[in-house]
């Protein structure tokens, strides 16, 4: 036995395929009986479609080579968001200094 009472939250569940299938018919009947909720559902569906439209092309683009290679940026950036290269360079410099000092004191 499915539910008979619904609210705005169910509009999102239905839109995202999360409403249990046994509630689908009762949800439709609830929408038919509530024009305001029907309009809201149509509005969220159209905004969702708008997002798809605005973003769809990006996934069709050919990704830049630097991403397809899965390698480091070219040319390398020392101040990338993760700071990976910066840390790597600092570590390399430290090793160099330690190595030189070791050689000097040996």
């Amino acid at each position: 036995m499915g539910r008979s009472e619904f609210d705005e939250r169910d509009i999102h569940l239905a839109l995202d395929g999360e409403l249990p299938p046994e509630d689908a018919a009762a949800f439709q009947a609830w929408l038919e009986a509530n024009p305001e909720m029907r309009m809201l559902r149509a509005r969220y569906a159209s905004d969702r479609a708008l997002l798809h439209q605005a973003l769809g092309e990006i996934a069709q683009e050919d990704p830049p080579a630097r991403l397809k290679n899965g390698t480091r940026r070219s040319p390398p950036r020392a101040f990338g968001p993760s700071g990976t290269l910066l840390r790597f360079t600092a570590a390399a410099a430290l090793l160099l200094v330690l190595g030189a000092a070791g050689g000097y004191f040996a």
């Binding site: 708008l50 997002l51 830049p64 991403l67 899965g70």
Partner: protein, 170 residues
Amino acid sequence: MEAKRSAILAEIPGLRRYARALLRDADEADDLVQDCLERAFSRIDAWKTDTSPRRWLFTLMHHLFIDGVRARKRRMETPQAGPVIETQFAAPPQNGFLDLRDVLDALQEIGAERRAAILLVGVEGMSYAEAAGVLGIPTGTLMSRVARGRQELRDILDHQRRRRILKAVE
């Protein structure tokens, strides 16, 4: 190893779309994807092939995105003059009074966490359970972020439409 690598590379289009929607700027978005891929390749042994590469990669990228948001907040607390980079978009199609750039602008006005929720579910087509897993939150929290995020988007788009109509009338 090669199969893992191919599975990761196959996720690039979706990662790019998600990153662009999160950040708006094309270069910044690809940098985020690049960081995500670098992190993925450096931890490739930690990924078990019986879990979806998608969920794993989107989780890695979400952490990087949140780190970036925090860093940006810190930078904004100590203001610096920097060049303003305009993202170039080929003439976008119109949708009523709005063009599709307005939609991407509107997304930026939504709080980062709600933005991520409506994108993972509404654009990337993840289930609530999958999206909640990526964001590291309970499903109930995800549901309310989706609902509030969409409400916010609706209000912002309405505001933009009103502005456009006023402009057109003038």
